[in-house]
């Protein structure tokens, strides 16, 4: 991978879920969105991104379909499923707990 900052185990999953919270998106879009929302801290390379996407799709959190990109390219779009949304909610809560705990620990 390695991103500028090492990704904590499980971080990538939640970032992808979050990126797809609003609308469906293709791989590159997800990667760009993550870079944007983290202020460039996480640069997700395809070597990490695609295995994660495929894994989450097989787990049933994401669904995919082929569509047209903004530049009229054929692209595979991913969107959250119901169980994906549930995952996002659970993971977000988990992260809130962790960050609070870590913040108070490292305070």
């Amino acid at each position: 991978m390695p991103p500028n900052t090492p990704l904590l185990q499980g971080t990538l999953d939640v970032l992808i879920l979050k990126a797809l919270a609003i609308d469906q998106m293709h791989g590159l879009g997800i990667s760009r969105r993550i870079a944007q929302v983290t202020g460039g801290t996480f640069q997700v390379k395809p070597g990490s991104l695609f295995p994660a996407l495929h894994r989450m799709e097989e787990a049933g959190w994401l669904a995919s379909s082929w569509g047209e990109s903004e530049n009229n390219r054929r692209a595979k779009f991913y969107r959250l499923t119901k169980s994906g949304r549930k995952q996002l909610k659970e993971r977000t809560e988990q992260w809130a707990l962790i960050t609070a705990a870590m913040a108070s620990a490292l305070g």
Binding site: P46, P51, G60
Partner: protein, 891 residues
């Protein structure tokens, strides 16, 4: 905190109802592989195009990195990825092995060999030592022995009266039962036949927890008349062999010792106790004998009662008996032997453990060889592995890939090994070796198969581990650059040397074991027995009870012996109550006043007693040293009813005479026989030389000979013949038939055969361990040879260079041999250390040899070194023949 920080997507996805999703994906991935792959390609391609749209092509190429690696990573997360790659690798491994049939066949052959041997030995081991007894709750069963620790007797057969008392007085046992070995003549069914029977108390089978497969068990009312019973149960094997397994056998009658018995049941197969030919019951009677030690006693503990508390309980019974019957039971105690000790003697147990250990060693050696073989292959496959790792195969996958081959080889080896065992086991059972208990019951059952599977997996992993751990450390770039001609790294050389060392050390262990047993066996075979075994015929004729009752036994015996003695070619014939070496072993405590007063030894000796006819000593070749042998005037030592006490006379063996009278002349002196039982005194009339009455292993026996008489008959006969003793069987049989057509001539053997048979356990252990040792040596040689030829092959260029620079052929040969011998020497040292540490567990199997027998160790060392030199000689010769021009051109 209430959550799991592992937050691993893949694992979470497997939970709950997502499994159906996962299964659907698995199905898709496996069945529509091409479509899935195409889609992945398209996805990555579109990603690349979009990157290009954003900026320059070079940036895109850099950002996307290795496309193949990404694809590999995606494939790895797919459902069923492992299955997929497993198949792929398996196919590849099969193809790879098929390209190198030599390696594959050699590996499979070696493992199959090891597997056949270990499966057979394990199944035998399992049947003999592990398999539960065929009795209900065998953990609660014990055998009860009498002891007289005050006379250093720690195991005596209980007497009949003591059995009835233990049965009545104990509080620990649900029930106590007894059995008595006997032989009867069965008549009325063709030729008269001697049959081994077990006389059992009517509750015996119930106490054991065995139900007849046909008919019924004995009942108390079958034995109301003490020993006067009329029903019988047939043993399973005898039912099949003698009665053809007739289903309607129950209710038929047998004529045993001229009495009619009705068959009431048939026992199931099994060992021990229930493997006799016939069973008849006996019941309580008031005048049971207390002094004669002849019975086997078993007890079933009440639930929850431990052996320890039962022992304490029997101690109370023993004290009471000792007080009540001081003459017979003074100092009596009881020893309890748990049923798991019933089947195999201590020696057999040690022998089976040794064989199992040996076969495991053999398997490990085979395994090491396969590892070596694969390692060599792994080296030539480095390039392939490098390419794979360049294409993005993870370390784990590479290990799996390399392991696959060893697993395949071990799988094939296991299957062929099991197949081998399937044929080998019945073949061994055919030999009908009496030395292994329950051999006939050995089978390839679930336990044996599990053993095979476990050892197969262990073998596969073990053999594959070394090459596998090596594979991924290969540096991709250097391997690819060097192409086919990689240098063998120092590490790999060291590993291979270590494998050879291990192999040699293990072979050392096996060969030492085999050597020690061989030495023991040859010592045993050389042992001077005391009696002469050459040209001696031994057979038995048992007279039925009616002969005793009618008092015609001695008359019969005299006629029989006289008629045999006058046969042409017969030198001498004698009778004895128990045949030497294989017979039963009645004994007594014997003492003399001079010994008791000298107080050198506190305990009086325990001696075997034998009833003999006057000519027995010359028939068996025991020279008379002092005094005289018995004659017709010497009466039986047992008083006949209504007659005065006889003038008892005995003959002692030399060692016993010395023990009782030190150096003074024993002739005419008096000894106390059956001390602590009947306490009779007897006069010593002669001394004969010592003999190994109990067989070659047990050394000279202390023996008291007592004369035959009207109530002291002999059932075993020894004939000294001129020429082959077996030629005399016919004439003797016809003499017997003329005297009594109902008496069978049984257990006919030459004395030499008897001695050989008594050594057959030792022979078996020696032969089997020697075979294993030989195989180990063979495998070690193959290993050394393989390693050396390989490494010499790799060093062709170097050797070529040496030759070009003027190295002589001899020096090249020396180089090779020295390189080969290093690890071998290390192995020999390790093996010697290991063997000396382990051989102590071996003592029970040795005879006349110390566990650390220098000669054996030296011989094994020389053998290993010589074969190792030979194994390295041929690769050395080849290296000598290297043509420098050719070698260097290849470079």
């Amino acid at each position: 905190m209430g959550f799991n920080y592992r937050g691993d997507g893949e694992r979470a996805g497997l939970k709950g109802g997502k499994n159906t999703m996962r299964l659907r994906m698995l199905w898709r991935n496996l069945t529509r592989k091409q479509k899935v792959e195409d889609e992945l390609n398209a996805e990555l391609e579109s990603y690349r195009q979009m990157l290009e749209d954003e900026g320059t092509a070079r940036d895109a190429a850099r950002e996307i990195g290795g496309k193949e690696q990404i694809k590999e990573a995606v494939r790895d997360v797919r459902a069923g990825a492992w299955l997929d790659s497993f198949w792929a690798e398996m196919k590849q491994s099969v193809r790879g092995l098929a390209r190198n049939p030599g390696t594959a066949l050699l590996g499979i052959g070696m493992l199959a060999l090891g597997m056949t041997a270990s499966t057979v030995i394990f199944s035998v081991f399992y049947a003999a030592l592990v398999r539960p007894l065929p009795f209900r709750e065998p953990d609660r069963l014990v055998q009860i022995w009498e002891t007289r620790l005050n006379r250093s007797i720690d195991q005596a057969s209980p007497s009949e009266a003591n059995f009835w008392d233990v049965k009545a007085r104990n509080r620990s046992f649900e029930d106590v039962a007894a059995a008595h070995d006997d032989q009867v003549n069965m008549t009325g069914m063709g030729e008269p036949e001697k049959v081994k029977i077990l006389e059992i108390s009517a509750n015996f089978l119930q106490t054991l927890g065995v139900q007849p497969v046909l008919g019924r068990d004995f009942r108390a009312e079958d034995a109301l008349a003490g020993w006067n019973t009329h029903v019988a149960i047939i043993g399973y094997k005898y039912w099949l062999s003698r009665f053809g397994g007739q289903q309607d056998i129950v209710g038929k009658t047998l004529r045993l010792n001229d009495r009619v018995y009705t068959i009431v049941g048939v026992l199931p197969p099994g060992e021990p106790w229930i493997d006799k030919q016939l069973y008849v019951p006996f019941g309580y009677h008031a005048d049971a004998n207390r002094g004669s030690w002849e019975f086997g006693m078993i007890g079933r503990l009440k639930p929850g009662v431990t052996v320890e508390s039962a022992r304490a309980d029997l101690q109370i019974v023993a004290s009471a008996l000792g007080r009540a019957y001081a003459r017979e039971d003074e100092g009596i105690g009881f020893r309890l032997e748990p049923s798991r000790r019933w089947v195999a003697s201590n020696e057999t147990r040690v022998a089976l453990w040794v064989l199992l250990a040996a076969v495991v060693l053999l398997q490990v050696i085979a395994c090491v060889n396969v590892a070596n073989l694969l390692l060599a292959r792994g080296l030539s496959r480095q390039r392939e592995i490098a390419v794979r790792s360049a294409l993005g195969a993870s370390r784990g996958r590479l290990i799996r890939f390399v392991m696959m081959e060893s697993l395949l080889i071990s799988f094939c080896g296991t299957v062929s090994g099991l197949l081998g065992a399937f044929f080998a086991l019945p073949a061994i059972q055919q030999l009908d070796l009496k030395v292994i208990p329950r051999l006939a019951e050995a089978q390839l059952n679930l336990w044996v198969l599990s053993f095979a599977v476990v050892s197969a997996v262990a073998t596969g992993v073990l053999a594959g581990l070394a090459p596998a751990l090596h594979a991924p450390t290969t540096r991709i770039a250097s391997t690819l650059r060097e192409g086919e001609r990689q240098t063998v790294s120092r590490d790999q050389n060291r590993l291979r040397a270590a494998l050879v060392t291990g192999e040699v050390a293990l072979s050392f262990l096996l060969l030492t074991g085999a050597g020690l047993l061989t030495r023991s066996f040859s010592q045993l075979a050389k042992e001077k027995l005391g009696f002469q075994t050459e040209n001696r015929l031994v057979f038995s004729v048992s007279m039925p009870g009616s002969y005793y009752e009618r008092g015609i036994g001695k008359q019969f015996l005299d006629q029989f012996l006289t008629r045999i003695a006058v046969l042409p070619g017969v030198e001498a014939v004698g009778g004895i109550n128990s045949r030497p070496v294989e017979g039963w072993d009645p004994g007594m405590t014997i003492d003399s006043s001079s010994r008791a007063e000298s107080r050198v030894n506190h305990a009086p000796p325990w001696a075997a007693w034998r009833v003999v006819t006057p000519d027995y000593f010359s028939a068996v070749g025991l020279p008379l040293l002092r005094g005289r042998v018995f004659d017709e005037q010497d009466p039986s030592v047992w008083a006949e009813p209504g007659k005065p006490e006889p003038a008892r006379r005995v003959i002692l063996c030399e060692r016993l005479a010395k023990m009782l009278f030190s150096d003074s002349d024993p002739i005419g002196k008096s000894v106390m026989v059956w001390k602590g039982q009947s306490n009779r005194s007897a006069e010593v009339i002669g001394v004969v030389s010592d003999s190994h009455e109990r067989g070659p292993k047990s050394g000279d026996t202390l023996t008291v000979y007592i004369p035959y008489g009207r109530n002291a008959l002999t059932s075993e006969f020894v004939v000294h013949t001129r020429g082959n003793p077996l030629n005399f069987v016919g004439p003797i049989r016809s003499i017997l038939r003329k005297l009594d057509a109902n008496l069978p001539l049984a257990d006919v053997r030459s004395f030499e055969e008897i001695v050989n048979l008594s050594l057959s356990p030792q022979k078996f252990n020696t032969v089997v361990l020697s075979i294993f040792g030989g195989l180990a040596l063979l495998l070690a040689v193959a290993g050394i040879y393989g390693v050396l030829s390989y490494s010499m092959g790799r060093r062709t260029a170097e050797i070529g260079l040496r030759v070009a620079l003027g190295a002589s052929g001899a020096s090249i040969l020396r180089l090779t041999v020295l390189q080969g011998m290093g690890p071998v020497l290390a192995g020999v040292v390790l093996g010697a250390v290991g063997a000396s540490a382990l051989s102590h567990s071996f003592v029970a199997l040795l005879f006349g040899v110390k566990p650390f027998d220098l000669a054996t160790y030296a011989a094994v060392t020389v053998l290993l070194l010589v074969t190792a030199v030979a194994a390295s000689y041929f690769p050395g010769r080849r290296a000598m023949g290297v043509d420098p021009i050719v070698a260097l051109r290849n470079e």
